[in-house]
């Protein structure tokens, strides 16, 4: 009886797992073929189902790069993402070093404080940031005819929501750091700064770069803050997709989405490779 029950529950679990994986991944595959649709529809045409080569085209991919709005959005996304990543990575790495030092007072509370932007609903963050930057006048700041204010606001906000990810990933690689190496450096005559720069930082770098990638993707994917802060000139890729979906739904969105999935895969493979590297560092087989 128990054996039957066990087999039955195993069967249920296996089907749940299969369903779960299909549920997770199929939606990502559905729009890839549709982005090559020759017709301006969001659905499969009969020609596409017959695998007729005329039913497929690259016109929506061309449309992205021929459209000034999309080109500007791509540039904005990368510029904002890069600056936000630099700020988040520097501040986050330093803080992670401190949080892993047992001499730091109030370690636990400081850790919880630093992680708190990550667990605050993004809509709440966006509303607060919008009020604050309007109040202090950053939102309307401009350099000549260039409106720099919204960029500053968005970059600072994105750095703030990205920093906790850097703290978490760098802390994780610090947890595996062998502190006798620093002692060895000290014995060999290195000062604390040299020891950090020449010994600790290279070994931590996979963790730091992983954190930076997390921060970059957080900014690259963020749209709620951008919705409140950005004018037409500061729109990013997800902001442009948002209006695309709301206003005129065209396969261009699916072409952008496909490129974003490819981008995600590249980022993911990089992160996995870095993880592998940092494990090698840890076990000393490098």
């Amino acid at each position: 009886m128990e054996q039957i029950l066990w087999n039955l529950s195993r069967g249920v679990v296996v089907s749940v797992v299969i369903f779960g994986f299909l549920f997770l991944t199929l939606p990502l595959l559905v729009f890839v073929p549709l982005s090559f649709n020759a017709e301006p529809y969001f659905t499969f045409t009969e020609g596409m189902l017959r695998l007729d080569s005329d039913a497929y085209s690259l016109r929506w991919y061309r449309a992205i790069f021929e459209n000034e709005d999309w080109r500007r959005a791509i540039a904005n996304s990368f510029v904002i993402g890069m600056f936000a990543t630099i700020v988040a990575t520097i501040l986050g790495t330093l803080a992670a070093l401190a949080l892993n030092n047992p001499k730091l007072p109030f370690r636990r509370s400081l850790g919880a404080f630093i992680i708190s932007p990550m667990v605050t609903p993004i809509i709440v963050v966006a509303v607060g940031v919008y009020f604050f930057y309007t109040e202090v006048g950053i939102a309307k700041l401009s350099l000549g005819s260039f409106q720099i204010g919204p960029y500053i606001g968005i970059i600072l906000a994105h750095a703030m929501i990205g920093a906790p990810y850097v703290v978490i990933t760098v802390s994780a690689s610090l947890a595996g750091f062998d502190h006798t190496l620093l002692k060895a450096a000290k014995i060999s005559g290195a000062g604390p700064f040299t020891a950090f720069r020449r010994v600790q930082l290279p070994l931590l770098s996979p963790g730091v770069i992983t954190g930076a990638l997390f921060a970059f993707i957080t900014s690259f994917d963020e749209v709620v803050i951008v919705l409140f802060m950005a004018g037409i000139q500061q729109r990013t890729i997800p902001r442009e997709m948002w209006s695309g979906i709301r206003e005129e739904i065209s396969p261009t969105i699916l072409a952008v989405a496909t490129l974003l999935v490819i981008f995600a895969v590249i980022v993911l493979l990089t992160v996995e490779w870095l993880k592998h590297l940092s494990e090698k560092n840890r076990t000393g087989t490098a």
């Binding site: 549920f23 978490i168 992983t210 709620v224 997800p238 995600a264």
Partner: protein
Amino acid sequence: MKPQNYSERRGRWIPIMLVAPLVAFIGVTFIAPLGSMLKESVYDAEVANTLPGTVALLTQTWDRESLPSEEIYRKLASELIERSTEDRSVIGKVANRVNRLVPGTRSVWGKTARKLKNIEASDFRATLIDIDDRWEELELWHGIRQAGQKFSSRNYLHALDLEVSDEGNVVRVEEEKRAYVTLYLRTFYVAVTVTILCLLLGYPIANAIANASPTVSKILLILVLIPFWTSLLARTSSWIVLLQGQGVINDILVAIGWVQDDQRLSLMYNMFGTLVAMTQILLPFMVLPIYSVLNSMPPSYMRAAASLGANPIQAFTRVYWPQSLPGVYAGSLLVFILALGYYITPALVGGTKGQLISNMIAYHINNNNWGLGAAISMIVLVSVMLLYLLFDRWIGINKLKLS
């Protein structure tokens, strides 16, 4: 100073200096904005700053049961003339603000300010009532007095479907006017449902990844991580492709004859669409923490349970499940908090029936009702912070892992 003492002190200052920049940065870019939001939700000095004398007199000398004294009417008239010569838009703002409390009084202000300029009056009460007889209504004066308070809880009352009755008690507003409590409950219900669905799907997935052979495990983990790294907007548009009336799922159901072409199912712009899309999007946040706990669990425990005579079900419920709980808690907290504040997906696939409290916040901000938007945000923030603190007390927030 002893050298040992010195090095100990120095040892403490280095980490403090390393952590200080990020703490200061989060203070300025996160805490200060939350402060602005709090202020916006309780502070509204438009009326108090425009009509300071009138508001002061109303608060201090008026008995609130009969019409205000001639002194108050005179003060109001002089302040109205003075302000409207400086900047006419200020009077419009006051009118809007009072009108929200006493509907149907907006036009009184402009009309009175215009006509007062050409009148040399000695009896201001009679003159004002002559210009517009609404100056005879006690309700309008109550409105001015109330709107004149610099700090008020009215946004919070409004955000909780409450109001102050004529007797001064806090009561629930009439049933037709209630809007927000239902939305909090709906948001809570959606967050709980999504968390449960993610747990039901995510636990078996995490278990499968943790117990597969190394190669299979790596491939399965990548299948979870790709959606995790993929743009939220891309994933939301994929659900539109799947769920819309002319979408892939309906097309398939029609093609295999389960559904008539003219009776396509409405799978999106409703609660169903919101739940399905949110579950798929948040699932990796459940799988990853559970997996990281299961993966570090020594397999010998299960073998020990078996050799001590436990059947597989007992071994699972008594040994495996309890040890995996930290991952379950971490994943559930992440999914639940993210779901509470979800905005993009319900806005795009939820229609009107699938809207959550976050959509209401955005609506009020976009319609210039900042105070109310801020109050609702504060209510959401406080609920999330309470959860977060409970979690930290209970399990420890430093146990959160990402990859």
